[in-house]
Assembly symmetry: C2
Homo-oligomer: 410 residues x 2
């Protein structure tokens, strides 16, 4: 069904698209993960590579009921254009939970849109953006077109190293700091309470905007819940209008990702600019989807979160136990207390990019760690997701991965 490619008098050669791309387009790259995932999607492969929530836990019947209820309740309004700000009952529910006003809550089309539009609003070419090393790859993809200059922050098991950061800030003039404090993607690490307080205080003192990306916060399967950076900033800075923290939340991991519903909590000047940016980006998040989510937050979501926590916790424990039993000496992993990921560090001589090829031969897949570093590094690291593999698959897959690593070490 392809139209003829016969030559033409009008346009003798193909159009020079590469030459036509803007500077921001040239800074876009395809996601390394995305290309890798394509290889690993063969059904016979046990994949710890993806970042997919477990589909067998999705509340399909509840979504069906909510969709029907929404159409009965709202009728045509559920399918009509709606406000850029988002569905008011959903914004009010989120605001009440956070102890802020609905005016400080903006609904977004997935948290990827939050990152894109916050990047667009806040990153000018050459602006210094502090990121964890490693950090969430999707944030780099969103920010890159706007031309940031990244500076990496050191981290350990408790997250960002605040002593090191304080030292860095003596010489680095940063505009923005991006962090995933809970069960970080990709490492699974969680920022400790003491460091959270210091981070909020330090960035406030230096006038650095802090973007807190928190898609996994509700999925804590061990340890005690910690306040968000945003929550701490409300107390430390004196309310939402004085906070320099922009909080990005999402329904993708606690309900379902395919509806693309997320939100931002921030001071009014940020929300107002975000509304303008979103008008130009997609007018508004799908009306129907926001209303469906709004039906589910009170009814289904609390039990859904408990279910997800129990299952992911069991899978994480199993994966860590199998790794501890089978991985060669010198291989280390993080110990996540929630979320979907853990991080493995191999001996220096191993490069996880060629290792992936060997692993795929043994029918197991992971994501090499290097792409998660904004400025390079991490050649001997990998991200494993435990969220969507069964216990049996974890058993088989970790055994295959242990063999692959052992072979590479020999």
């Amino acid at each position: 069904m392809t139209a003829t490619d016969a030559p033409s008098a009008v346009s003798p050669s193909s159009f020079d698209w590469e030459g036509a791309f803007s500077p921001q387009a040239r800074r876009l790259g395809s996601s390394a993960i995305r290309e890798i995932l394509k290889i690993t999607q063969r059904p016979e492969i046990i994949s710890f590579a993806g970042g997919l929530p477990a589909p067998e836990l999705f509340p399909i019947e509840a979504v069906r009921e909510a969709a029907n209820t929404v159409l009965s309740t709202y009728g045509a309004a559920a399918l009509q254009y709606s406000t850029t700000e988002g569905h008011l009952p959903l914004r009010e529910w989120l605001a009440a939970r956070a102890g802020i006003d609905a005016a400080n809550v903006q609904i977004m089309t997935g948290s990827q849109q939050s990152l894109d539009l916050l990047g667009k609003m806040l990153i000018g070419e050459g602006d210094v953006v502090l990121v964890e090393a490693p950090t969430y790859l999707g944030a780099l993809q969103s920010f890159n077109p706007y031309g940031p200059q990244y500076v990496q922050m050191a981290a350990d098991e408790e997250g960002i190293d605040l002593d090191a950061l304080e030292e860095q800030l003596k010489t680095v003039k940063a505009k923005l700091l991006y962090a995933v404090p809970n069960f970080q993607n990709p490492t699974g690490r969680t920022l400790s309470l003491e460091r959270r307080q210091r981070l909020v205080e330090l960035t406030a003192r230096h006038g650095i905007i802090l973007i807190e990306d928190d898609p996994y916060g509700a999925i804590r399967f061990s340890g005690e819940p910690l306040p968000s950076l945003y929550e701490l900033s409300l107390k430390m800075c004196g309310g939402p209008e004085r906070s320099h923290v922009i909080y990005s939340g999402s329904f993708s991991k606690v309900l379902v990702p395919g509806l693309r519903d997320a939100w931002v909590q921030a001071a009014l000047p940020i929300i107002r600019k975000l509304i303008q940016a979103k008008q130009g980006a997609d007018l508004h998040t799908p009306t129907f989807n926001q209303m469906i989510i709004s039906e589910l937050v009170e009814t289904v979501m609390p039990a859904q979160i408990e279910r997800v926590k129990a299952v992911y916790g069991e899978r994480a424990q199993h994966m860590m136990a199998r790794m501890d039993a089978q991985f060669p000496a010198g291989v280390q992993h993080t110990t996540p207390q929630g979320g979907m990921f853990l991080w493995v560090t191999l001996p220096e001589q191993i490069d996880t990019v060629p290792l992936l090829e060997q692993a795929v031969k043994r029918l197991v897949a992971f994501v090499p760690g290097a792409p998660f570093y904004a400025l390079g590094g991490g050649h001997n690291t990998m991200r494993l997701s435990f969220s969507s593999a069964t216990l049996d698959q974890i058993e088989t897959g970790i055994a295959a991965l242990a063999q692959t690593i052992q072979e590479a070490l020999d």
Copy 2:
């Protein structure tokens, strides 16, 4: 429910958000239309201001059935993350209709996203973008952050004046041309066949990328259908890979807008870059929504289009007849053959911004024309939408508007 705004040792004053905004954020402005619409949303006002499809025509029960079918057919996959390219059956359906390959079709979250991401990919700061005068305000909003230099093209009843454009191109080096050839927003004008051919040929010869925005094309209620610029370019340039036309389509006006589903047809280098841009912008269009639309395109959409055409055609005829009967001499209007809008030009001495205030007092609203001009002009013009007003409302509203205009002329 607002957290305390007590002063704090950490952040004694509010954060300087204005100073933190990027150059692209500073180029964002709120939609003039959006602000005006807020005033005119009082229920007692007959509004010709909005650009809303008629909600009483929405196929609510068909959407309900489709939603249920999708959940039964696809189960969890309807609610899971999905590919950036979009739901393959929907892309295949669109491709077959256009006589191209599915690889040349990209699903988007509303055509506003198409404009945003095409702007991001193609407009570098200072690049010359040719736009109609007046043009679609939403396109300006999407393009503005990327810093285009607009050049306006003259137009008459048959759309863009090709003689004038050919003359302009002798001195203007343009990167991009943006046009709405069918029932343009805001004027309702349609580009004639002869001018379509010349426009495709002229832009190809000058190496200018042509973005064809076609949300209304299917809603033709009088006259003969014309080929799209994209279709003409496939023949004239020799197939999709040689075409310099990027086609932006949408399901918002032919099905429902609240699901936010649209698409782009273009050469592979554009599609590949668009995929990268979309990964960073929202990962993918909501899975569930794409599947619902895919259920509806074969079953409900053909009859829906006929229904919309009949109703909008009747409303447009009625509005024009009432205007011809009641508007003072010297007031002119366009004669749309489809779409949702018509354009009124008043005597030079009338400014439609203060006129709107007077109109609202008489309980009728329109959108002043000036914001639709990228470079100013059109103080004595207005856009009227006939899509969502009943015949009675048109009767009453046009009478009130006629009185308002007469009063302003006196």
